[in-house]
């Protein structure tokens, strides 16, 4: 066979034993490989067990937010970042409708996560990266953005606006 370049004088085991050996080697190494690879994949891919950060953050008095004009509010929130619980500054674009209904958008464009801003003259949210544009209700008006602006949960208690975790989008 192709083993012509090898030492021809050495004895080899019988074909059936040879078959058994190779099967056993591959089998055992396969099991060991799986016992290492499967836990490794779980370890790398499974999300960490949830640690509670801040759920609801009191932000601004609702009366201080102008109606029908998006306002960027900033607040402190606590969240788990790997092995640490960090407190960080976060922002949201808040829109108050005349009927006092409030919507809070997360501050990142749904395309590639750039920070967008409110453009008063065109009355749209504009992302500087790839010119995605969103209406005041978050709907996509143009550009590559794949979905409307993401929202945070909001609630109002005693006239104070509270911002919660981001809503899950499909």
């Amino acid at each position: 066979m192709e083993e012509k370049h090898l030492h021809e004088d050495a004895v080899d085991v019988s074909p059936t034993r040879r078959k058994f050996y190779i099967l056993a080697i591959n089998g055992i190494m396969g099991v060991i490989g799986a016992l290492l690879a499967i836990p490794a994949a779980i370890y790398l891919l499974f999300p960490p067990k949830a640690r509670k950060g801040t759920q609801w953050v009191k932000t601004a008095d609702l009366s201080t937010i102008p109606a029908d004009k998006p306002t960027e509010i900033s607040f402190q929130r606590t969240r788990a970042d790997g092995w640490q619980l960090i407190t960080e500054k976060a922002t949201a674009w808040v829109v108050k409708q005349p009927n006092n209904e409030v919507v809070a958008f997360t501050p990142n464009c749904t395309h590639l996560g750039c920070a967008y801003h409110w453009d008063d003259s065109s009355h749209t949210f504009i992302c500087p990266c790839h010119t995605s544009a969103f209406a005041i209700d978050g709907k996509v008006l143009g550009g590559p953005a794949p979905r409307p602006l993401d929202r945070c949960q909001v609630k109002v208690e005693n006239g104070v606006l509270q911002i919660g975790p981001p809503e899950q989008h499909a």
Binding site: A10, L35, A40, Y43
Partner: protein
């Protein structure tokens, strides 16, 4: 399977890979080869496991002291499979060392280091030393008390080496004790420098084995056989057995992770990893200026002797049965090692965090533990609840980010340690992620008095203290009742001691007394107290439940 064959042929033509693998696998080995030679392969296999699991750990490891501890805890408690991966790495390290030593003993007994295989033996000796350095450097990385204090001892030993000592200590960045610099150097050695070094050394080692061929038994003239598949099969069985042991260990026994390293913890007894215990014990036999003998000279001579074995024992290879002296040396060495290790285990007291025995209780039967708390301690409990301390200190036996408060080391169980720690945790315990507790000094004192009261036995009862009691104690504290009254031995005796007051008076009497003390106790110096209905309710309920002193 034509396409696969084509790819293989293409690769073979361009790289010669297939021939190289075949040459490696179809190497001729002596007919006398067999089960006794499977240990070397197992050592290589364990090195691969260490690289694999080590790489996985590094993906979630923070390479700074303090934070490293948090990240290891994160790996163990929050990542699925993290416990197993660290277990494999931890126990794999120990098993790798055992296997390397067994491999060495096998070669030694057979005299396989004799001419022309001296260099193979010496490269093997270097591999043994590098394996030990791996263990030493990896030991520090979790940055718990065990890691920290173990490394303090190791670096001190290094420093006692003649001439080179001070330079080595500087190289390890540990002139002023185990520092951040030490940590980074250990980390760099463990993860960046040593792994490629071992790969190169293993390469040289295997090259030399192949160059000289596997050592045949004396008088083995039978036709040679091939390495693959028979010997590879035997190696695989050996690897499988070792792996089953390792995997079982990793599943049933957690790799240790104690408390965050605390350079001020005087209660902790440093102890090195088990395979260094014999050295630890040897040092104890040499006192004063002679210590350097046990710490450096003796191990140095031992290592040198090990290196020179092929030059000391220069005769031709003989049958195993005639290697009486070699067997004697191995048995003597094993006995000495076992004796020293046992002595070290026997004479090193176990650490509190390992056996968890600090708790005592003086709670009398019939009285709840929380009933014996002083008003100040109850105020501390109120603050403990209000500040959400439980989030990180969920109680003994539960996994939390912070340490178990019932098992604080003795020197932390004082207000003098706790109060500054509350104010600036990371200043007192470097690397601590506990946020500063922003409270007044008197509140911090109350909090510390409460924490000091906690033991493993009374913890669950104290934590369950009803809210009305805690609120009542707060009213008591904020009105400074303790300047005249005493409860649980705390306060002044200008007025009556209030322990067991519920057995002398009822609710109506108490309310009347607070509103108009003169109406119930003529001539008393107690001023009237106008409590809100809620406060009145709380303090009355609190006072009425007070047990007799």
């Amino acid at each position: 399977m034509k396409p696969i064959r084509d790819v293989i042929d293409w690769l073979e033509h361009r790289t010669g890979l297939e021939t190289a693998i075949r040459d490696f696998l179809y190497e001729d080995i002596p007919a006398s080869s067999g089960w006794h030679q499977i240990i070397g392969s197992a050592a290589v296999f364990f090195f691969v496991i260490q690289v694999f699991t080590g790489g996985l750990l590094a993906f979630n490891f923070a390479a700074t002291p303090g934070d490293s501890y948090n990240s290891v805890r994160y790996i163990m408690t929050e990542l699925t499979g993290g416990r197993l991966i660290r277990g494999l790495h931890h126990w794999g390290a120990s098993m790798m060392l055992i296997i390397v030593v067994l491999h060495m003993i096998q070669v030694f007994l057979y005299g396989a280091y004799k001419k022309p295989r001296e260099a193979t033996w010496m490269v093997g000796c270097v591999l043994l030393l590098v394996t030990l350095v791996f263990g030493l450097t990896g030991y520090l990385l979790p940055w718990d008390n065990r890691a920290y204090w173990g490394t303090v001892v190791t670096t001190q030993i290094t420093g006692s080496a003649p001439v080179l000592g001070p330079y080595l200590v500087r190289l390890l960045g540990s002139e002023a004790g185990v520092s951040r610099v030490t940590f980074s150097r250990f980390y760099a050695l463990h993860t960046i420098l040593l792994p490629p070094l071992v790969i190169i050394l293993i390469g040289i080692h295997i090259y030399l084995v192949r160059k000289h061929g596997v050592a045949p038994a004396v008088g083995d003239t039978a036709p040679r056989k091939k390495f693959f598949p028979e010997q590879v099969f035997k190696d695989t069985i050996g690897v499988a057995i070792a792996f089953i042991i390792l995997f079982t260990l990793a599943v049933i026994a957690d790799a240790p992770l104690g408390r965050l390293a605390d350079p001020t913890d005087t209660a902790f007894t440093p102890r090195p990893e088990w395979y260094f215990l014999f050295l630890f014990q040897t040092i104890k036999f040499f006192k004063g200026p002679l210590e350097v003998l046990g710490a450096v000279v003796l191990p140095g001579v031992a290592v040198l002797t090990l290196f020179l074995v092929p030059f000391i024992d220069r005769g031709p290879m003989v049958r195993l049965g005639k290697r009486g002296l070699a067997f004697g040396v191995v048995i003597l060495g094993a006995l000495a090692w076992t004796g020293l290790t046992t002595a070290a285990v026997m004479t090193t007291p176990a650490n509190p965090e390992e056996n968890g025995l600090i708790a005592t209780t003086d709670v009398e039967t019939g009285v709840q533990a929380w009933q014996s708390l002083s008003p100040e301690e109850l105020q501390g409990l109120a603050l403990f609840r209000k500040e959400g301390c439980k989030g990180c200190h969920p109680g003994s036996g539960k996994q939390g980010v912070g340490p178990d408060l019932t098992k604080l080391p003795a020197d932390h169980r004082t207000a003098a340690w706790l109060v500054p720690h509350f104010k600036e945790p990371s200043k007192i315990v470097p690397g601590s992620t506990m946020p500063p507790v922003q409270l007044s000094n008197s509140d911090l004192n109350a909090l510390s008095s409460f924490v000091l009261k906690l033991t493993a036995d009374n913890e669950s009862s104290i934590m369950a203290a009803p809210d009305y009691v805690v609120q009542g104690a707060l009213v008591y504290q904020s009105n400074h009742c303790n300047s005249c009254h005493m409860i649980a031995g705390v306060g002044q005796k200008l007025g009556p001691v209030l322990d067991g007051v519920g057995q002398r008076h009822d609710r109506a009497w108490l309310e009347q007394h607070f509103n108009d003390p003169q109406s119930t106790s003529k001539g008393t110096s107690m001023p009237p107290y106008k409590f809100s209905p809620a406060d009145m309710d709380a303090i009355c309920k609190y006072l009425l439940q007070l047990p007799k002193a």
